[in-house]
Symmetry: C2
Subunit: 184 residues, 2 copies
Amino acid sequence: MAFISSSSEYALHCLLWLVAPQGRPISSRDLAEMQGVSPALLAKIYPKLERAGIVEAIVGIGGGYRLALDPRSITVLDVVEAVEGTKPLFKCRDIRRNCALFEANPPSWSTVGICEIHAVMLRAERAMRDELSRTNILELAQGVPAPIEFMQIVRTWFDQRATGRELSRQAAMRRSRTKGSPAD
Amino acid sequence: MAFISSSSEYALHCLLWLVAPQGRPISSRDLAEMQGVSPALLAKIYPKLERAGIVEAIVGIGGGYRLALDPRSITVLDVVEAVEGTKPLFKCRDIRRNCALFEANPPSWSTVGICEIHAVMLRAERAMRDELSRTNILELAQGVPAPIEFMQIVRTWFDQRATGRELSRQAAMRRSRTKGSPAD
């Protein structure tokens, strides 16, 4: 598995659908189906974004996710760390202590400060994370060269999905009331 | 497993013993035992460094490894790439093509150039590799705050190991000749 997994890719792609001001929140199922990714997988990813304060979940009828912050203040790093955690690029085993000449009793000069090799790895990881923090999700969304009418089609699709679900729910309730009436 | 594995850590630590000009090449077994890491593992790692032109293997009696280049021209990135290969930080699945609205026929605007998300990940990976390339193994070795007499002790240890092995070899040959003599 790559260091930054497909879960981050799915999280980021689906967040782009939330960047445009929406009339209503969007369910993770609709986000997943719009993007052509697994709804089951996205249903595990989005609670992580919620816990990180990137999206908020609106519960109840017409519920779903919406951004919890201005998209300009959500960086790619925020999303990657919400999804992947802050696992290190390199896990130092501090093997400088193991030199045979120390005979299991390393002198203080050999363990002072951080290992030189670990220090280089930490600088590389910092450079990587700094670069990820330089782009926010508004910039990502604006980088997609979609024609202007496309986002209107997208909004209509999401609205139709939510409306269709609401109509199904109302019909089910009516059937349930009919079944439960004294005439049954 | 971390993105940069313990194999890179072992390779780098053991390379530091080769930085000081040595009287003779050092076997991967002696490098491993000096550093307190698995000789079997190091015996798999060092051929990768040899293929990358970082070390050269001297075969035959008194053989072993020595640096193939000036240590100032061997960067941490060179060693990490020799050991880990150039696996990407992020493997883009190009899921921008999968939008439900495209119905499996993505328009050209949606697939032009590189995906915006992938582009950010590539910049982050570049920043990480650039940082790894900023430090060479001479600088790493000079960063270890060992007292000046320590490297002499190290050299003596390696020399004694090599000499001990050579004496054992000669003794074994003598035994073999004695067994093979007409007196037997």
